[in-house]
Symmetry: C2
Subunit: 416 residues, 2 copies
Amino acid sequence: MRQSILFTKTRREPPKDETFKNAILLIRAGYIHKEMAGVYDYLPLGLRVIEKIKQIVREEMDAIGGNEMLMSSLQRKEVWEKTDRWDDKNVDVWFKSKLANGSDVGFGWSHEEPITDMMRSNVSSYRDLPAYVYQFQNKLRNELRAKSGIMRGREFLMKDLYSYSIDQAAHEKFYAEAAEAYHRVFERLGIGDVTYYTLAAGGHFAEFSHEFQTICEAGEDTIYLDRKKGLAINEEVLTDDVLKTAGLKREDLEEVKAAEVGNIFSFGTTKSEQLDLHFTDANGEKQYVVLGSYGIGITRIMGVIAELFGDEKGLIWPQEIAPFRVHLVVLGEDEAARTDAEEAYKKLVEEGVEVLFDDREDVSAGGKLSDAELMGMPYRLVVSKKTHDAKKMELTTRADAETQMLELPAVLRKLK
Amino acid sequence: MRQSILFTKTRREPPKDETFKNAILLIRAGYIHKEMAGVYDYLPLGLRVIEKIKQIVREEMDAIGGNEMLMSSLQRKEVWEKTDRWDDKNVDVWFKSKLANGSDVGFGWSHEEPITDMMRSNVSSYRDLPAYVYQFQNKLRNELRAKSGIMRGREFLMKDLYSYSIDQAAHEKFYAEAAEAYHRVFERLGIGDVTYYTLAAGGHFAEFSHEFQTICEAGEDTIYLDRKKGLAINEEVLTDDVLKTAGLKREDLEEVKAAEVGNIFSFGTTKSEQLDLHFTDANGEKQYVVLGSYGIGITRIMGVIAELFGDEKGLIWPQEIAPFRVHLVVLGEDEAARTDAEEAYKKLVEEGVEVLFDDREDVSAGGKLSDAELMGMPYRLVVSKKTHDAKKMELTTRADAETQMLELPAVLRKLK
C-alpha cells in the first residue's frame, strides 16, 4: 500500500485525555480514533492488526472443529429472563432500548444465552453433538469506567466459542483441547512466553475457571505465578486449598500484574436446563447438553501487545500481526532513489511481501523516519541517494534497531 | 468442510412466521436463524456467503483507492446534533440508550456524521485530499415493520464508503468512478444483467442521487427502466423534466418492482460546513470538503440473490458467492463408495476447490440429495456403489440440473 493514499496522519503530541500507553501510541500512530471513553474507531492500520489477530484465532478454532457464525447484536429480553440475567441488578453492563412497537430490546454484551437458545433448533439427538460454535462479535458493555484504552472498552471485539457436549467427560476432553489451542494462539501472537494458564473463580457453575493472563503492568488483575511450571493462580482464589489443587507452593510464586487475554469456563448443564437445550441419548433418554464457553479479547490483545512491546519511539509489532511486514521509506527528491524505491516496491509486492511504501513527497527525511518508528512495522527499508550510490538498501529491524546494508535480491530473500 | 461437523440442520417445513422466499429458503437450508422480526443470526453457511460478497466489494473499493476501516457502533449525540439528525422527529429509526454516567448514546444507523467528524483529525491541507474511506458495518435501525426477511432488517450489514474531495469537479470524477466500480461489483455477484443505474431523489443536498436497483418481485421500489439503454428512473422522481434530463422517453419505459442494492449520493459541502471539516487550499484559503456517500447492502444482496435464483427445491448460488463450489455427496454405506468419496474430498481440497462433503452416516440417499438441492451449491458430485462400479462420478449443476458422468481427474479439471 502506498502511504500517499492512506488517509490517516501521525501525531507528535500525545492525546490529552489518555493515560495508557496503548491508547497514546495507537492514536499517535493513526491506528485508532477515540469516539468517547472506551469507544474507538479502528483506522486502516488498526483494522489490519485486528484482522491478523482474528485470522490466527480463526485457524486455531477451526483446527479443533469450530464452526464460525455470527450472532445478532440485538437481543430478546425473554431469553435472558430464563437465566435471570436481564435484570440490571444481576447484570450491570446492559445497554437496553425499545423497539418501535414498545417492547424491550438488549444489545449483546455476551451471547451465551442467545446462542444456546439458537442451538435448540439444531440439537435434538446425540448424533447432533458435539457442536463447537464460535464468532467474532462486537460486544457492547455499559462500563462505568473505561480508561485503559482498548484494553477495556464499552465496545470491543471478542472471539467467543461455545462447546455443546454430550456429557461431562466429553466436555472435559474438549476443554483441554481448547486450552491447548489457546496456548498455540498466544504463541503465534508473540506473547506465548508471557501468558500463563491461570486458575480463577468458576462463578455459579464450577469450582474453577481458567484464564490466560499476560504479564502486563497495565493489566487489571493480580496473579501469582510459578514461572518454572508455567502456571498461575488469580489472587481472587489464592488459598492453601487451591495451591494444593494446583500443585503449587506459595514460596515458588511471584506476584505480578496481568491482563486477562482469554478465559475458558465450564457451565455444566445448568444453563441448558434453564434454556431447555436437551437431546435424546443413544438409549432414547432425555439429557441436557453440557456447555462450555471460551473467550479471547481480540481488541484487548492488540492493546496488550502495544503496551508490552511499544517503546519511547512508538509501536513495535510482532511479525505475525503487523499491518505490514516492511515499511519502505524513500528519502529526498533524488530521481534515482525514487526509481530504486519504486522498483523495490514492485518486487516486494510481486513476492507477496506486505509492504507499506512511504512515497509521500512533502515530508522531511526526519519526519518519515520517526513516523516509521512510531508506526512500528517489523522492518524498515530505507532508500535514498546514499543507498543508490552504494547500490545497497538499508534494512533495519524495529525491535532491536539492527541495520544491514543489502542489495535488493538479498532484501527480498530476507523478507519473503 | 465435512458436513458431519457442521452444526446446522436443514428443515423440510417452512417457518410459520416468514412470507418471503429469501427468509424461508435461508432458514430451511440452515443459513440464517431468526432472533426477531428483521434480526437474524448468520450461521456458518450464511456467514460464508456474506464474506464472499464482502470480499468482492472490498476488492472493487480498494481498486478505486478506498481505505477500509471500522467505525464504532456507539455514537455521540453531539455530532448528530450539529446536523440536526439526533432528534427522533428528524430521524425515526434511532436506537438510543444511556451511558452509566447518564449521558445519551446512540447506536449507529448510519455513519456519515461520525466518520466526517473523525476526518477532521486527518484533513487539514489540500495535500490530505482526496480521501476515500469505507467500512463494512452492522447497522442498527429501529424499523417499525421488518417483514421481508434479510432484505430489510433492524440489524443488517452494509458497506458504506465516503469520499472527501477538494472540489465539485474532483467529486464528480470520483462519483463516476464509484458508479463504474458498483457496476463491476454487481456483475461479479451475478446480478449485473438485472441491476440498473437508476435516477432517484437527491434529498436535501443535490437534485438527484443514483440507486442501483435489481429487478425483483420482492423489492420495495417501483422503477421505470429502459432495458436497451440500461438506465432507470425511480417512480419517486418520474416527471417529464427528469425524463428529459435522463435522455429517456416515457414510451420506452417498463414498470418493474426492484430492490435497491446500492446507492450513491452527493452532499456538496453542506455537511462539511455543519461539522466543520475544512482544509487550506494551495492558495492558503480555507475551503470546505466536498462529500459523497456510497452504500451497498451486503445482507440485502444475499436476500435478493436468494429471491432471484431460488427455486421450488431450494437455493441456487452464483459461483462467486456460493459457500462452497461443490457439494460432494456419498450415498449408501458401501465401503468402496466411501473410499472413492474420501479420495475425491482429499483431491478437491488439495486442488484448492472449496468443497462441502456430506459424509453423514445416518441420512438416507433421498435426504442427502434433497439437502444438497436445498443448500444450493453450484455443483453436486455424487459418489455411490453405482458410480464406483462405473468408475465415474456423477457431476450435476444446480442451476440447470445437467448431469455428466466423469472420471475424477475430469471432475477436478472442471471444478478447479
